[in-house]
């Protein structure tokens, strides 16, 4: 039997692609290496479908349908807000600020949940939509006839043939490697991530000790220097707290050259901070035996050629990681080609730009977007993840003012906060801005962003602590051109 499509990997992107293709009536086979889809998906995410995918109602519907079937937290229930802590070289918090997202978005429209739960239900929906699923089976090779990919070979020697193969098998992509499209990821661009999960006895107990959904810690004891990353603590369903040290904003090569193992050094420094201890002390096993450990890297740069006749590479496997979006975009792109049965190298050549990297990109000016779209899209698809995220961490601020972390902490200005938050400075990052407010906004178009954050930017009263401190120090700042130590 020849399938229309074989999707390798039932993660969020593979399952999404298979869902939409099966729904359109294509004979779809989904092959997953894990015993059950979701087994290999660690991490947890704030899903805010209506914000991120507002132009893709089909995808919003699918995500909401899945989310409603599994346990999740709504930041609205927790008191939505992000706390930011700036830690000095002595590993002490010297400055704190917090933000509260205005409007409905932050309160009601985002859901914190475990990715493995999400993927399990999503894959089930894909099966319900008509796809066939084989789990617990790794794909070990592709079937190649000349320059055309005709299907895959699994570890038990079975050969499955299809008109189109979609390699959505994650960052360790057998498909991309066997097809010769991926040699090796660049450690200067791949960003590193190490995390530990801790468990409270119950969700109620967790809320007692930890207010607000996300706490972010910036400072020289917590990540390698340049580009500066952050450590985060986030609330998850089931009384689980996830701690990331660093959050995936630090290149693998910086980690290696700093010669400090996150598990031994950075995360231990984080646990040494009084504010963190206070939050996590009631967790079972703290600080020696976490409930779960996880590690990964965000691959990059995106493959320059993510396709060949009969094959496309989707999501992390092609270095364009994101939840569901690349899978959706892939399905959108290949469906008409499957209809006309033209899956040649040439027909698939538009896939490079269509594969869905844009979720994290915000256009500054929508009017200008049209004329610049093609050029910009191409440029952006070549940008490294790391470079984009600079704007979300404060590294953008440091680059702009050419200062060190300590100087930034010591000289914290009112203006720094929007930069740290990742709200784009139109002068500096007019072409793109990246928002990882984490909690509810991962990425939105700039107009949407300004609608949400305009009030914050125009009204410094939204930062009460900073404003108070700013006023207190205004005179001395005017004299010395430097703020006094905040505490």
């Amino acid at each position: 039997m020849i399938y229309d499509v074989i999707v390798v990997g039932a993660g969020s992107n593979g399952s999404t692609a298979a869902y939409f293709l099966a729904k359109k009536g294509f004979k779809t086979l989904l092959i997953e290496a894990g015993g059950t889809p979701g087994d290999k998906c660690h991490g947890a995410t704030e899903y805010c479908p209506r914000v991120i995918f507002h132009s893709m109602p089909e995808l919003v519907d699918l995500q909401l349908k899945v989310i409603k079937q599994i346990p999740h937290l709504k930041p609205g229930d927790l008191g939505s807000g992000n706390f930011f802590y700036y830690v000095n070289k002595d590993n002490k918090v010297v400055f704190k600020s917090h933000t509260v997202a205005p409007g409905k978005t932050g309160q009601e429209e985002s859901y914190s949940l475990h990715n493995c739960d999400f993927v399990r239900v999503l894959a089930q929906e894909t099966v319900n939509a008509g796809a066939q699923l084989i789990s617990g089976t790794a794909v070990v090779n592709i079937i190649r006839e000349g320059d055309v990919i005709k299907g895959v070979v699994t570890e038990d020697g079975q050969r499955y043939k299809a008109r189109l193969t979609i390699g959505a098998d994650g960052r360790v992509s057998t498909i991309a490697k066997k097809a010769g499209l991926l040699k090796k990821w660049d450690p200067n661009i791949c960003s590193y991530h190490y995390g530990e999960a801790w468990k409270f006895r119950s969700e109620e107990e967790m809320f007692e000790y930890v207010e607000h959904v996300r706490h972010m810690f910036f400072g020289p004891t917590l990540t390698p220097p340049k580009p500066w990353g952050a450590c985060t603590i986030s609330l998850r369903p089931g009384g689980i707290i996830t701690v990331n040290a660093p959050t995936a904003w630090t290149p693998l090569s910086s980690m290696a050259s700093a010669k400090k193992n996150s598990r031994r050094v950075y995360i231990q420094n984080l646990y040494g901070i009084m504010e963190v201890k206070r939050m996590l002390r009631p967790c079972e096993g703290f600080p020696d035996k976490p409930y779960q450990r996880q590690s990964c890297f965000m691959p990059g740069p995106p493959l320059t050629k993510p396709y060949m006749a009969g094959l496309v590479i989707c999501g992390d496997a092609g270095g364009v990681g994101s939840i569901c979006l690349p899978g959706y975009k892939t399905a959108q792109y290949v469906a008409p080609l499957l209809e006309t049965d033209d899956l040649s190298d040439e027909a698939l050549s538009g896939y490079t730009l269509a594969r869905g990297r844009m979720s994290r990109i915000i256009y500054y000016n929508e009017d200008k977007q049209k004329s610049r779209n093609n050029k910009l899209t191409k440029e952006l698809s070549e940008l490294s993840e790391t470079r984009i995220v600079l704007w979300s961490t404060g590294a953008g601020y440091m680059a702009k003012y050419d200062c060190s972390i300590d100087e930034m902490v010591e000289n914290m200005r009112l203006a720094a906060v929007p930069h740290v938050m990742g709200v784009p400075d139109p002068e500096k990052c007019g072409e793109f801005g990246y928002v990882d407010m984490g909690t509810w906004l991962i990425a939105v178009k700039i107009n949407h962003l300004l609608k949400l954050y305009g009030p914050i930017l125009q009204n410094p009263k939204m930062f009460p602590t900073i404003l108070k401190w700013f006023q207190k120090n205004e005179q001395s700042f005017n004299e010395k051109k430097m703020f006094d130590h905040p505490f």
């Binding site: 660690h42 360790v172 090796k184 995390g195 986030s234 980690m255 996150s262 409930y291 779960q292």
Partner: protein
């Protein structure tokens, strides 16, 4: 809590002729799987592997090869 389902064959192979013993893989490994012994990297605790493949990417000597473990084996994540 994550589970570990026994893997029949190793899936991290180290080419000892290429390995320079620089230790980057040990630094980068969140599972403490790898160790340096007699100047060469060694897979010491495979059952702690978090399956991130950071070791392969960071190895500048291209000595480490990571493949996915056999279907249905290796780590099973339960939560974030």
């Amino acid at each position: 809590m994550s589970k570990w389902i026994a893997v029949p064959d190793t899936f991290i192979t180290i080419d000892l002729n290429k390995c320079t013993g620089c230790g980057s893989c040990v630094v980068i490994c969140g599972g403490e799987v790898l160790e340096i012994k007699e100047g060469k990297a060694l897979v010491a605790h495979l059952n702690q592997c978090l399956e991130c493949a950071n070791c392969e990417v960071i190895c500048s000597a291209d000595a480490i090869q990571y493949t996915m473990p056999k279907g249905g084996t290796g780590i099973v994540y339960e939560c974030g």
